[in-house]
């Protein structure tokens, strides 16, 4: 039987990184995610797998250390929370522009500004609509359990390398701090230099040998026609993501008249809310986006015919609701319910909000 351990969400990210062959972690402390780097420092992976762990002088530096490592074809990651992620947005844009893979975890806290250290989902827009400049997208994964915190590290790397694009785990202080049982997956060794050349030798800066031209990893394209061509290439990449990589979970949806859409810790609350509402005879289901980018637009559209209304439950002022409205395009009412400032909605509150849209 696979080994199961009790651990915090943040610890799960660290342990998964070591076990899935990550080459380097570069980070800067911030609550509520400091356990990621603390766990790594305690585990000393440089003595076992050879993984490098370095505390940077800022989040600006850590994301740019990722750029350096990623451009060498290495599996690199960082983690932070909202204010630190804002500082990394420059780096996201450059890495998306240079088509570099990396993994970033944002353990979101309340904002704007220094905000609070409590859990929040207020960074949805920043994660899925950009944050940095230019036409780019991050691949955004939203775990709702400690097991998924663990599993999405490997999945994040897989997608990041498949599409040569930064991937982001968008989670929050609740999932980062809560403890659950985690099944450890089989270990993956780090890539050897030879494997890196075999897998990424067409673009990575592994050292210019006589048998190949120089590699210059850059996001610079001064000629408009060249840049437009590159922009179109990115659009094609994002189209592929939307066709192939959408992930979501549906609970009690088959006979549903009403649908709650929620991700991350809010979806855990909504699982309970669905149970409570169904006990009262309300036919409600839950759709949980697992990938926030690409967004499960089609899955929502496919359900519109059977539904009377949709409500999103978010720990934000109503951000994801806009993407749901775009998907539904006015066919049925789409409402939002949320709590802000780091407050987690209760299942009872969600049921009340649901009843409000029914009457």
């Amino acid at each position: 039987m696979a080994e199961k351990l009790l651990m915090k969400g943040n610890e799960a990210i660290a342990i998964a990184a070591i076990r899935c062959g990550c080459d380097g972690y570069f980070g800067y402390p911030i609550t509520p995610q400091s356990e990621v780097m603390e766990t790594l420092m305690e585990e000393k992976p440089w003595e076992t797998t050879g993984m490098v762990v370095l505390q940077a002088e800022s989040e600006v530096a850590s994301i740019n250390m990722l750029y350096g490592g990623a451009a060498c074809g290495k599996k690199v990651m960082t983690s932070s929370s909202s204010p630190g992620i804002s500082l990394m947005c420059e780096g996201f844009s450059y890495m998306a522009g240079a088509e570099l893979p990396c993994l970033v975890a944002n353990v979101v806290r309340g904002g704007p500004g220094l905000g609070s250290i409590q859990a929040s989902q207020a960074d949805y827009f920043q994660a899925v609509k950009g944050g940095g400049h230019g036409d780019y997208q991050l691949i955004v994964l939203a775990p709702n359990s400690v097991q998924e915190m663990y599993d999405f590290v490997d999945l994040g790397f897989e997608l990041a390398f498949k599409y040569r694009n930064p991937a982001l785990i968008l989670t929050d202080g609740v999932i980062g701090q809560m403890m659950e049982k985690v099944e450890l997956r089989p270990e993956k060794p780090r890539w050897t230099d030879e494997e890196i050349i075999k897998l990424h030798g067409s673009w990575a800066t592994t050292g210019k040998t006589k048998d190949r031209p120089q590699h210059a990893v850059t996001s610079l394209a001064l000629e408009s026609a060249v840049l437009e061509k590159f922009n179109l290439k990115l659009i094609e990449k994002y189209k592929q993501l939307n066709e192939l990589e959408v992930r979501f979970e549906k609970i009690n949806c088959d006979d549903a008249d009403y649908l709650i859409i929620a991700y991350g810790s809010a979806s855990r609350v909504c699982e309970k809310a669905v149970e409570l509402a169904r006990n009262e005879g309300i036919k409600v289901g839950l759709l949980r986006p697992i990938t926030l980018y690409p967004f499960p637009t089609k899955a929502i559209q496919d359900m519109v015919k059977q539904l009377k209304a949709i409500i999103t439950v978010e720990m934000s002022a109503g951000q994801m609701v806009q993407d749901v409205r775009l998907a539904v395009n006015g066919a049925i009412p789409v409402e939002y319910f949320g709590r802000l400032g780091g407050i987690i909605p209760t299942p009872e509150e969600v049921v009340v909000a649901l009843k409000n849209i029914i009457k």
Binding site: V60, S62, M65, Y67
Partner: protein, 253 residues
Amino acid sequence: MDVKDIIKPENKVYGKCPVMTEKVLHYCPGCSHGTIHKLLAEVIDEMNIQDKTIAVSPVGCSVFAYNYIDIDWQQAAHGRACALATGVKRLCPDKYVFTYQGDGDLAAIGTAETIHACNRGENIVVILVNNAIYGMTGGQMSPLTLEGQVTSTTPYGRKIELNGYPLKITNLAAQLDGTCYVTRQSVQNAAAVRRTKKAIRKAFENSAQKKGTSLIEVVSSCNSGWKLSPIGANKWMEDNLFPFYPLGDLKDK
């Protein structure tokens, strides 16, 4: 004797460095960047480390340095070169890693990344091309612009009350325990070029010996930005920049 009889392999005393590409430099005539590029290429060639060198280009006039030196390059966001170089060197410790940066890139927007890389003693080489101005964006003031120096954002000369003092970032780097070799050089004549090349070679050798960070400031001319002729720019540099930024080693550990 005909000239053709002299042009023979055995008579060759100097040639284009094979680590320089065939591309025509985009730099203004009189600019120091091209000379410094050539010296880097020559050192890489002479040490036979073309396949072991990874360089980081900045945002500034030398953003396209990768077009000219035939090695693997990474192009950094403005000021972040030393953070990229840290990532590369930590994950590829057997590579030679250098950054190539202007004074604005290294000592304004990138001060934190530079100082902390030097302070951690990253085994990298940092090349600072100090032309006391933002060349690429049209000649604005940089932190290293001299007091009284006219630039497009100090049209009446840099004033200390308004802009503070010129930043001797190289002196600052020499104070840090992580740096092993800090020197200030120039490339305006043959003797200076030879000294700078020796400094670059030494810096690369320091990397191999894991001695820490080597920083080479090359006090450079920007005749376009300074609105001078190439010869006039070299004279202005000798008369004004060298007294404030004296050449020579600041640290050699």
